[in-house]
């Protein structure tokens, strides 16, 4: 017999310790001919699913069978290290519970466990190994542990023998042999493996230095003295270890028969009572929903769809899942929290009937290709967005309903990226903080932007130095490694049995949050279902808008009640008059709208999906725009079969689902393969491996009679999609929010702007731009005023206008706009006012108990004008006001008036910006107009009317700066003067020349030429001047998006 089984092996999921990922370890062990490998990460099973998938890949793709054993190693408080392996399902559950307990009692990223914690425990399903270190083989606590093991679990325990060609290997072996005789426990050979190949040795040292927060050069004896902790060839193992120890390892491995594939996961069942099955209950709710939606009866086509969906749900046993989502959505509705589902399963007729989505599948002529893929055993996928400020209520509801043992968040594995890898490697290699800053600043944030060396060289860094060469080599190794576990944004895992029997649970950063040790890919791979409970600011805004409209008109709107196909709304969208509208307010979207001219709901779906890095890089935008201008009959399709896939998008693949469908229809992929392609699409930049698909796609398409040219084009498009490809199922849900917010902006501009302001920060524009836009739409915006304002922005009736027919309320800015005013102080003010208006500043300060900070904030924001005159006087008066403890104390005698300078218009504007973030007075550039005109600067409006290629000067406050990754280094800046905005395009060469001005100027003067494409205008900058000095102390800050 000549085999070996490795029973002790840490992966990169033992953070800052293991120097290989689980896949590498499992595959290498398989290649070396190991019979089994145990992944025994330190108090963790986070690498378990990835290891399982690697073992299955080894079997299916490489034809090598290797047994995967799951286990963990724990450092006991007594200083003894033990390894536990799962023999069977019971043992696996015991492991999960033990890890959970050890993790839950420590802060995030740590664990704590002692011998006493283990002693009383049922570990009948585990194998236990004690791992004595060299020279500690005689310690007292080691004897205690061994004595306990030989008494309690004599047949499941062993003493792990790890030999690494160290000086005292012989003595170590001898002392363990003595222990073996004394306690009657077998010696078990282990490699105490930290990496799959010895070439990872340097990385192992890097991790050690990181763990001890030192440098490699100073880590001394904390580093391993050699690189022997790798998966060694069996021949080497045989040379080093006594045969009986190797046999004991093989025997122990044979005794472990647990496989992750055997775990049984059940969805919570409390929503179902004994009298009905889950399927029946779901059917009941769906039919109840149908009755409300279609009181006159369900349209035949829809009925068919509902029935077929219900049938699939029944067959796949997913009813519990839909019921759970339904329950959460119902709870949100009862609390008045807006929510909206998205994802393939969400945009189904069933979910429409259940109220999970407001997208009406019958009205929007959409195809649902991917409701639930039966071929793949993937759980259904529903994301539900909630109002961002109230999502926490829903999370608390879930915890309360299912209990903390049965509900936890999924983990997100944070991976090393170029900058974080450079930081950590740089630190342990002894670079100074500034050297590290410089190096990492030169690197892209993404892992897929080409060679790191090239990136550094571009920044003029000499990459020839030996030290930097080594660093780069390590950084390259490190990128993609797991770094730590974090919490998923909102992916909840629910289970019928306590979760910690299925997977270890640990603490998250947030107090009272727990996460499981698996991420969403792991969950999908082992068939655990998760519900994404996400936060979306626009939902808060829409709900607030509904509230405002109701308070003003008495009419309650809902997402479902807003009429579709509204012509004025589409007209507004086509003009790109969309500031504040969900998604289509960005500059890229706005330049697309006049060209795409959305006229129906599906156009919005396309708009949402197309203006994204994926389709833009894939070159799909222009073909689609061209196709829109053609007669539909003139559009050619490569085949009839593909016409079916691409007709809705005029022959251009836009959605992720379409790419999968093309692979299936044209290249004969089955569902699993198509899904594999989708996953590779998402990951290829990180992991590569897309090229193998190219051949399969081409040969498949050739077989179906498509030429290679077309196949190559499709493949390039797939590559372009990269990780950004947008699924139609999400675009549809977003498009609905686009339509609703656009409709609200069109018909209720004051309420919509107020709701946006009350939901800040969100979206693309700051309060200043939103208010300017509202005023351009004839909304009367009024400044914050202690006599009238609430904390939030509110609507006020315009005197003399009948509120009945065409209500055009005014927008009263809230006290929340006043910088430096706390919500508490504002609440006190509003409460005091409700008992009677303020007589004067002293009365205000006294009754609202305003502290110094609140008093100053109100005066400087000019919110006291009604009580104290201009802001100078207001500040002077309120500085003298005091809160008197004794209400009956005599108020201070009146002072003689003094003459303070009146604020100049410029001062007022500057103070408005500084203390409100916006002004309702003139635009500051109006005050500078004379100066600017002398310099030959045009108004923005005049500039935007120039003919193509005409050159001129234009100046404005910078409001938005962008350098999108998809634009190859081009910078977009929006500047704004009193007549409107100008969109400036800055090519990289110009940017390099004016870098400082572009990134820091508040007032930019640009000399450039007009680039006009129909109604879409850009100023292409040639020279740029920082004119901020003209503004003096004006503190309007632009909102930077990078």
């Amino acid at each position: 017999m000549s085999g070996y089984a490795e029973l002790c092996c840490v992966s990169a999921f033992s953070f800052q310790r293991g120097a290989s990922v689980p896949e590498e370890l499992v595959l290498q062990a398989a290649k070396l001919g190991y019979e089994a490998i145990a992944i025994t990460d330190e108090c963790s099973l986070a690498g378990a699913v990835r290891a399982l998938q690697a073992a299955e890949t080894a079997r299916d793709t490489h034809g090598i069978a290797i047994k995967l054993i799951l286990g963990t190693r724990l450092m006991l408080a007594e200083g003894i290290e033990i390894v536990l392996l799962a023999r069977d399902f019971a043992g696996y559950t015991q492991l999960c519970r033990l890890i959970t307990e050890a993790r839950r009692r420590a802060t995030k990223g740590h664990y704590g466990i002692s011998q006493t914690d283990i002693e009383g425990r049922d570990l009948s399903g585990c194998r236990l190994l004690v791992l004595p270190v060299h020279d500690v083989a005689s310690g007292a606590s080691l004897h205690t542990v061994l004595a306990w093991l030989s008494a309690t679990w004599p047949h499941q325990s062993g003493i792990a023998l790890a030999l690494h060609r160290q000086a005292r290997d012989g003595a170590h072996l001898q002392s363990l042999e003595n222990l073996r005789t004394r306690y009657g426990l077998p010696l078990v050979a282990v490699g105490d493996v930290h990496m799959h190949r010895r070439s990872r040795r340097a990385l192992q040292d890097v991790f050690t230095a990181l763990r001890f927060n030192t440098t490699v050069a100073e880590a001394g004896y904390r580093l391993a003295s050699n690189g022997e902790r790798y998966l060694r060839p069996i021949a080497t193992i045989k040379k080093l270890y006594p045969a009986h120890a190797i046999e004991a390892a093989r025997w122990a491995a044979a005794d472990c028969s647990f496989s992750l594939r055997t775990i049984e996961y059940k969805y919570p069942s409390e929503l179902v009572d004994d009298t009905r099955s889950a399927d029946d209950l779901l059917k009941k709710y769906v039919h109840r929903g149908c009755a409300t939606i279609w009181p006159e009866g369900i349209p035949a086509k829809t009925k068919k769809q509902i029935d077929s969906e219900l049938e699939v749900i029944g067959r796949m046993n997913y009813a519990h899942y839909f019921l759970t989502v339904y329950d959460i959505v119902r709870e949100a509705n009862q609390r008045g929290i807006l929510c909206q589902g998205r994802g393939s399963a969400a945009n189904s007729a069933v979910c429409y009937c259940l109220g999970i989505t407001a997208v009406d599948p019958t009205r929007n002529e959409l195809l649902f290709e991917r409701f639930i893929s039966e071929a793949r055993k993937e759980p259904p996928d529903i994301d539900v967005d909630f109002e961002h400020e109230r999502r926490e209520e829903i999370i608390q509801y879930i915890y309360a309903k299912y209990g903390r043992h049965r509900a936890a968040l999924a983990a997100t594995v944070i991976h090393y990226r170029p900058r974080s890898a450079m930081r950590d490697v740089g630190r342990v290699m002894g670079l100074s903080v500034d050297q590290i800053d410089r190096l990492s600043a030169a690197l892209s944030r993404r892992s897929d932007d080409g060679s790191l060396g090239d990136q550094l060289a571009e920044h003029g860094i000499d990459i020839g130095q030996p030290l930097l060469e080594k660093i780069l080599w390590l950084v390259n190794d490190l990128i993609g490694f797991p770094r730590h576990l974090s919490q998923h944004v909102g992916g909840f895992v629910l289970s019928d049995r306590p979760l910690e029997e299925l997977v270890p649970v640990e603490n998250a950063d947030m107090p009272d949050r727990t996460i499981i040790q698996w991420d969403k890919d792991d969950l999908e791979a082992v068939g655990l279902m998760k519900i994404d409970v996400l936060a979306l600011g626009m939902l808060s805004c829409i709900r607030r808008c509904f509230d405002l409209i109701e308070s003003h008109t008495g009419q309650r709107l809902s997402m479902a009640s807003i009429p579709g196909g509204d012509a004025p709304t589409y007209a507004m969208i086509q003009k790109a008059d969309t500031i504040g509208v969900f998604q289509i307010e960005s500059r890229a979207q706005m330049t697309m709208l006049p060209r795409l001219k959305p006229a129906r709901f599906f156009d919005l779906v396309v708009e949402v999906a197309i203006v994204r890095p994926g389709p833009i890089q894939g070159g799909m935008v222009h073909p689609y725009l061209e196709a829109r201008n053609k007669n539909p009959a003139d559009i050619e399709y490569p085949s009839e079969a593909l016409r079916g896939v691409l007709e809705r998008t005029l022959g251009v693949p836009i959605f992720q689902e379409q790419v999968m469908k093309i692979a299936m229809v044209a290249a004969g992929f089955n569902g699993n393969e198509a899904n594999g392609l989708r996953k590779s699409m998402a990951a290829w930049k990180k992991e590569g491996g897309l090229e193998s698909w190219r051949e399969r796609l081409k040969s498949g398409m050739r077989a179906n009679g498509y030429d290679d040219d077309f196949a190559d084009r499709i493949f390039e498009q797939i590559k372009g999609f990269g990780s950004y490809g947008f699924p139609e199922s999400h675009a549809v849900s977003f498009a609905l929010l686009v339509y609703i917010s656009a409709w609200l902006k069109c018909h209720y501009p004051a309420a919509f702007t107020a709701a946006l302001l009350n939901s800040q920060p969100m979206g693309f524009y700051g309060p200043s731009q939103l208010v300017t836009d509202a005023r351009n739409h004839a909304v009367d915006v009024r400044k914050p005023d202690v006599r009238y304002s609430d904390w939030d922005c509110t609507l006020e009736t315009v005197p003399g206008v009948a509120a009945a027919n065409e209500p055009r309320p005014a927008l009263r800015l809230g006290l929340s706009r006043v910088k430096g005013l706390s919500p508490d102080a504002a609440q006190r003010l509003v409460a005091a006012r409700s008992c009677g208006g303020f007589r004067n500043v002293a009365d205000l300060v006294q009754r609202a108990a305003l502290d110094r900070r609140a008093r100053d904030a109100l005066a400087r924001a000019d919110a006291l004008e009604g009580l104290a005159g201009n802001r100078h006087n207001a500040q002077w008066h309120i500085a003298a006001a005091r809160v008197h403890d004794d209400l009956f104390a005599d108020l201070d005698p009146p002072e003689d008036p003094i003459a303070l300078p009146e604020p100049a218009e410029g001062t007022d504007i500057i103070s408005d910006y500084a203390n409100l973030g916006l002004t309702l007075r003139r635009h500051p550039l109006a005050l500078l107009r004379k100066t600017l005109s002398r310099k030959g600067v045009l108004h923005a409006r005049s500039f935007n009317r120039l003919a193509d290629q005409q050159t001129a000067h234009v100046a404005g406050l910078t409001t938005i700066r962008q350098r999108p990754g998809s634009a190859k280094g081009t910078t977009f800046v929006t500047i704004e003067d009193e007549t409107g905005p100008v969109n400036v395009v800055i090519w990289p060469s110009v940017f390099a020349q004016y870098r400082v001005a572009v990134t820091s100027a508040r007032l930019l003067r640009v000399i450039g030429h007009m680039q006009r494409a129909g109604p879409v205008t850009h100023c292409v900058a040639r020279h740029i001047v920082d004119d901020s000095a003209l503004l003096g102390a004006l503190s309007v800050r632009s909102r930077d998006f990078h």
Partner: protein, 479 residues
């Protein structure tokens, strides 16, 4: 009359020549959360960098500038020294900055009394400015009747320097930031506008503090500043009565000098560690000797002994006329130094390392005496080194190591009998020069000596794992 000096770039300028040689330099400080610039060289300032700008922002403007870390201690020490410099112009020197805030680094001193001595205000100011230029300290200066007024002027922008106080911006005054903001928000811009307001109204709004400040500004109230006191270090000159021509004679004179020094030190409860002696000759240039003690001391006997050992190696170039003596900073005495005072030069006992060491070093030369240090390193040749001071060695490697290391290793003799091994040592990859990949063995040679030998793992690879005739190197003897 008071002179106020502000040093806006003190964090850089105080670093002296080393820092200012770097034409472009920023000093960064992370105490404000993110890293900010707190001082910059003139060239960097010209490229648009301002104090308190975020470091990243500044680097955009001055990409070539090197970034230095802040050293608050050194800044304080330099400020202390600068105060010592000001001492020569005034007995009333006030030096301060608030909680390490560099922007408030300032020096204020009374110059009215010194005007005559230095030839009038213009001459004095010119002289002070010359000094500061020599030091390389950028500064803003202001003169006023009171320290507060001088400071206000120093804060004024250059173009307003000649204006009367009333026309200076309010921000020149040392007002609490809240008070200043409140006054500015009331529309006030200039100091004169503030001064014209009724004090009752000001009192009501801003309390007594503001009025007291205004009183100090005008000199209606004492300035209340703490005065600087020069640092205590012992610097003396001893004139000899008649030239001393021999070392022995010199020793006799020095004895007196040291006794005096010892008395001073005892009186101050202090000790010193460095002594500089200047032997001033008639014709020849001064002979300078520096005596470093390995620990602070105040024992005259100790000083004398050390000096004697040092003098024994000295050839006098010329007769000595005068002896100068300067100590380093006086430091509070440490109690365990007590024993040295009673040391009657008997045999050294353990714990008297410093005295013995100083004697050995004075006799053998400083570098001839060192400690053996065992750094934690798996590489045998790096696991021991020389150290100037006794060090806390970490626990040495548990692995058996020979007592005698052969450095550099040489080819091992043939006919070895291996008794244990291999021990694989494979580390140091981060440093090409000292990277080690070896298998070590214990072996016995023909003479029965126990040797520590190794073979290189890289040889194995290079020669295609020719295990039959590996090359061995001798690296140590186990005795």
């Amino acid at each position: 009359m008071w002179l106020a000096l502000l040093f806006p770039h003190w964090a850089l300028d105080s670093r002296g020549a080393m820092a200012s040689q770097k034409a472009l330099a920023l000093v960064a400080d992370s105490s404000l959360g993110r890293r900010h610039v707190i001082a910059a060289s003139e060239a960097v300032v010209r490229s648009g960098v301002q104090r308190l700008m975020e470091l990243a922002d500044a680097q955009l403007r001055a990409p070539d500038a090197c970034v230095l870390e802040r050293r608050a201690d050194a800044e304080s020490a330099a400020l202390e020294r600068l105060a010592g410099w000001a001492w020569r112009y005034s007995a009333q020197v006030h030096v301060a900055r608030e909680s390490n805030n560099v922007a408030t680094t300032r020096l204020v001193f009374e110059i009215g009394a010194s005007l005559r001595l230095f030839g009038g205000q213009r001459a004095l100011i010119a002289r002070i400015q010359d000094n500061l230029a020599d030091f390389g300290y950028r500064h803003n200066a202001g003169i006023g009747d009171t320290p507060a007024m001088a400071l206000a002027r120093a804060h004024a922008p250059r173009r307003l320097r000649s204006q009367p106080l009333a026309r200076l911006p309010l921000s020149c005054l040392a007002l609490p930031s809240g008070t200043l903001a409140s006054l500015q928000a009331s529309g006030l811009r200039e100091i004169g506008e503030l001064l014209s307001l009724p004090s009752a109204m000001l009192h009501k709004r801003y309390g007594a503090e503001l009025l007291e400040y205004l009183d100090r500004l005008h000199g209606f109230r004492p300035h209340g500043l703490a005065c600087y006191r020069p640092p205590q270090r012992h610097i003396t000159r001893h004139e000899l009565f008649g030239a001393v021509e021999s070392v022995q004679g010199l020793a006799f004179v020095l004895r007196r000098v040291f006794i005096e020094l010892g008395a001073v030190l005892r009186g101050a409860g202090a000790a010193i560690q460095t002594l500089k002696l200047a032997l001033i000759h008639d014709q020849a240039p001064t002979t300078r000797l520096t005596l470093h003690l390995s620990a602070p001391s105040r024992s005259a006997d100790h000083f004398e002994r050390i000096a004697q050992y040092r003098l024994a190696r000295l050839d006098l170039v010329a007769p000595v006329l005068e002896i100068g003596l300067a100590t380093d900073q006086l430091r509070p005495v440490e109690p365990d130094q007590q024993t040295i005072e009673h040391d009657n030069s008997a045999a050294p006992t353990p714990g008297h390392w410093p005295a013995v060491l100083d004697r050995l070093r004075a006799r053998l030369g400083h570098d001839a005496v060192y400690w053996l240090h065992a750094p934690a390193d798996h590489r045998p040749e790096r696991a021991s080194c020389r150290a100037e001071q006794p060090t806390d060695s970490p626990t040495p490697s548990a692995a058996p190591r020979p007592l005698w290391l052969i450095e550099p290793p040489r080819p091992a003799p043939a006919n070895l009998r291996f008794i244990s091994g291999p021990e694989r040592i494979e580390t140091g990859w981060w440093d090409e020069a000292t990277s080690v990949r070896r298998d070590y063995f214990r072996a016995v040679d023909g003479n029965g000596r126990q040797l520590w030998v190794y073979r290189r793992l890289d040889d194995e690879v290079a020669t295609g794992s020719n295990v039959d005739t590996p090359r061995y190197y001798l690296h140590g003897l186990f005795g």
